[in-house]
């Protein structure tokens, strides 16, 4: 691990710890509307001012960060599981199976999945709590965003399948399940780890995109996406630069993940 990667890991840990501590110490609810002071400037009561409904922006940023940082890894985990199963199966079975599954993966990759997400979200029941809606949103992200990872996993399994140690294991009569769990999966760990780290910032950004379109997390729950909608117009942040904090935090997190990934990808 290089010093830059150590720094990135420390930054992520720092942000996560600060978020957890802030959530624990927070006195104001992220939903409380101080309607007499909408769009207030920063003060000792409201460190980052208030939003257009008078809600404390700092509280919303802390909760939004907590939500995005805790749920994006879950979505990434779901997506990696899907990728491991589908890509692993294609690579392990090989031949016609591999061609069919790879074609299916290509098809999934071709889909405009932002629109797919919007369509799937529109079909969801309306009466679900904001927390459940955010969990469903990230689960959808995870269950729809596995295709790119599946392709990488398939390629890795294919190369492992033809490797000498697998051939020897086969020749010595090792059963299929043992081959998969004892020989293949442990060798896939770095690839799956890298795919996980790649997926986390992707899902964070996708949720932010959905949030900017107004289709992300339900009100009043905050997320980075809903916080970034404040920056839609240039006027929005030119007159109130403290609104940029959510963007800075998002960029910092995404860059940190990218910096960590590079080492994992290389080692994978």
């Amino acid at each position: 691990m290089t010093s830059l990667q150590k720094f990135a890991a420390m930054t992520l840990t720092g942000i996560a710890l600060a978020t957890v501590l802030s959530v624990a110490m927070m006195r104001t609810s992220y939903a409380t509307q101080f309607r007499n002071i909408p769009n207030a400037v920063p003060s000792h009561q409201h460190w980052l001012g208030t939003d257009d409904l008078g809600r404390d922006r700092f509280t919303r940023l802390v909760y939004g960060t907590a939500i995005s940082l805790s749920l994006a890894p879950i979505a990434a985990f779901i997506s990696v599981i899907f990728a491991a199963c589908i890509g692993g199966m294609a690579g392990y079975l090989g031949g016609a199976w591999e061609r069919v599954i790879t074609a299916a993966v290509e098809l999934v990759l071709c889909m405009p999945w932002l629109f797919l997400l919007i369509a799937v979200r529109a079909m969801m029941p309306l009466n679900i709590s904001p927390l459940l809606s955010v969990i469903v949103t990230f689960s959808l992200l995870g269950s729809l965003g596995w295709a790119a990872s599946a392709r990488v996993v398939c390629a890795s399994v294919s190369s492992l399948r033809d490797s000498e140690f697998i051939l020897r294991a086969r020749a010595s009569g090792t059963p299929g399940w043992r081959l998969l769990f004892v020989h293949l999966l442990p060798n896939l760990k770095p690839v799956l780890g890298a795919q996980f780290l790649i997926s986390v910032p992707v899902f964070i950004l996708t949720e932010a995109n959905l949030g900017i379109l107004g289709l992300g997390v339900s009100e009043p729950l905050p997320s980075w996406g809903s916080l970034l909608t404040e920056l839609e117009s240039m006027h929005g942040f030119a007159s109130a630069p403290w609104k940029l904090v959510s963007l800075v935090l998002l960029v910092l997190v995404v860059i940190s993940f990218q910096l960590i990934i590079s080492s994992d990808e290389v080692s994978a």
Partner: protein, 538 residues
């Protein structure tokens, strides 16, 4: 050295353009999309409507400031007692932009073409199933006969643009103050002053004063605001409160808040009998007490102040106070009263149980409000309503949907509980809202397409709306429609939230502008607008 030479060359090249701009007397503003049509009889979108307004002539015109009907191409008119015939006396010596003469034949041809089913003119729909025919009495007199009585017959002709029957340019031959001189799709439309325009000012000078209008096509409101602040465009016809405040900060003299517009924002509950919602929820939504309680529990003052930055007014009822004639001034003002809400709920045997409101059967009161994603104002209002209703123990889930999904839910599947949307009223007459108030109407959103009225109050509204639509006595019509407004306020099928203000921006260099609440807010008196000495290019 090279750079200096280039700079000098650039200045030399720009010099003629600057000189050209100086001699131009040109108004500039933005259209937010390409016009779908230049045929004034087929106009359905805002951009086409703007072009139609600037280039066509009408027999009569609603003065956007006084809301009174004034003569235009017709010098006088008379409606028969039975409301089926209207006779127009036409202005003499009026010519189209191409020099062809205007007379009764054009009016008759316009009516014939508009009513032809093959034209698919949206204006034919105003007359419903009735037919309209024109009979030429003389070149300067025409009778228009309807098969059914038409209420407010004369005012309808404010919307109908007269098209030439003889000009080879057809609908592009302009009777209005301007004609279309150039059009580059996706880029701009250039309108030139109509040299044959009939209108003159008090001193006898031919109108309009401004020689040309350049309408650039630009959908981005941020760019529009920025270019207005730079002085590159002269007006913004309709602003939202965010951009209004942005302009007000640096150019306070340029912004105009004309007060509440005709548009309203409202929410309603799904009362459709076979909607896929639990029966106990349908029972809540069909209860007048429940709906009225919700109306009392929503702080409309706060919605107007916080969600719209004080550029909206709490709505009183279905008609905005901006509609001077039809607004019922006897309606009580909007009231925020949590205690009154609780009393009404108790009448329906709702009870508070540890901070949660429960109905008679013990079901917690929880429902979802759907609205269109990306509409910042509606999202804000829904979130504020969520907090307001939590004070009486109601849990509201705010769901933002993409527009097609939302429309599908409220018009076809009826798979929703409450919706928050707006109503854009372009016209003043209640006849334009028939589809919304008749129980059989498609836009009777809380329960559309009823075979027969499902409640007594809906039956009464049906009766009143039908009566006003055939009455030719304005006072009687007003009486009927006042009662409709009373019923709506008592029953709250729509909970009217706010009326947005009509916001606009006009450069101080545009002289003679008086922004109003009716469309087109800023250039309704385009003929009389002038560009002052500090105008761009002067």
């Amino acid at each position: 050295m090279k750079r200096t030479v280039l700079a000098v060359l650039a200045c030399l090249l720009l010099l003629p353009l600057g000189l050209l701009a100086q001699v131009r007397n040109e108004l500039r503003f933005y259209l937010h999309s390409d016009p779908r049509t230049f045929d004034p009889l087929l106009v359905t979108d805002e951009s086409s409507d703007t072009i139609s307004f600037l280039t066509t002539g009408r027999l009569v015109c609603v003065n956007r400031e006084t809301q009174a009907l004034e003569p235009e191409l017709a010098t006088s008119w008379k409606t028969s007692r039975d409301g089926r015939t209207i006779t127009f006396k036409l202005r003499d010596r009026v010519f189209y932009s191409d020099g062809s003469r205007f007379d009764a034949e054009d009016v008759a041809a316009t009516i014939k073409r508009m009513m032809d089913p093959n034209t698919h003119s949206p204006f034919a729909d105003i007359f419903g199933a009735g037919t309209l025919t024109a009979r030429i009495v003389s070149p300067l007199e025409v009778k228009i006969i309807s098969s059914t009585p038409v209420a407010g017959f004369d005012r309808i002709f404010d919307q109908i643009a007269i098209v030439s029957s003889r000009s080879p340019l057809k609908e592009k031959a302009a009777l209005g103050p301007y004609f279309i001189a150039d059009y580059k799709p996706g880029s701009f439309i250039y309108l030139k002053r109509n040299p044959n325009y009939w209108k003159r000012d008090g001193a006898g000078k031919q109108l309009p004063y401004i020689d040309g209008i350049r309408l650039e096509i630009q959908a981005n409101r941020d760019i529009e605001t920025l270019r207005f602040l730079r002085g590159e465009i002269d007006l913004i016809n309709s602003l939202d409160s965010e951009h209004y405040d942005q302009i007000a900060q640096s150019a306070p003299a340029s912004v105009h808040d004309a007060g509440p517009s005709l548009d309203s924002e409202q929410m309603w509950f799904n009362q459709v009998a076979n909607a896929p919602i639990p029966p106990y929820k349908r029972a809540w939504f069909r209860s007048t007490n429940f709906r009225r309680a919700i109306a009392f529990a929503i702080n409309k003052q706060d919605l107007a102040r916080v969600a719209f930055g004080s550029h909206a007014q709490p709505a009183v009822g279905p008609i905005s106070p901006a509609n001077k004639f039809w607004f019922n001034r006897n309606l009580p003002p909007a009231k925020y009263d949590v205690n009154a809400a609780m009393k009404l709920l108790q009448q329906d045997r709702f009870r508070l149980d540890g901070g949660t409101l429960r109905d008679e059967g013990g079901n917690p009161v929880e429902f979802s409000i759907i609205t269109n994603a990306g509409n910042m104002y509606r999202e804000r209002m829904a979130t504020m309503i969520q907090q307001d209703l939590s004070k009486i123990g109601i849990k509201v889930n705010v769901v933002t949907l993409d527009f097609p999904s939302l429309i599908e839910r409220i018009t076809e599947k009826f798979n929703y509980e409450a919706a928050l949307l707006g109503n854009i009223n372009a016209g003043l007459d209640p006849n334009e809202q028939m589809n919304m108030w008749l129980s059989s109407g498609e836009s009777h959103q809380w329960n559309p397409r009823e075979k027969s009225p499902e409640t007594a109050w809906e039956a009464e509204i049906d009766k009143l709306m039908k009566a006003q639509s055939v009455s030719t006595n304005p006072a009687q019509r007003k009486k009927y429609f006042d009662r409709v407004q009373e019923i709506v306020v008592q029953q709250e099928p729509f909970i009217y939230l706010v009326n947005r203000d009509a916001l606009s921006a006009i450069s101080p260099s545009v002289i003679g502008a008086h922004p109003v609440v009716l469309r087109p807010e800023t250039f309704w008196n385009i003929e009389y607008l002038r560009l002052g000495s500090n105008a761009r290019g002067k």
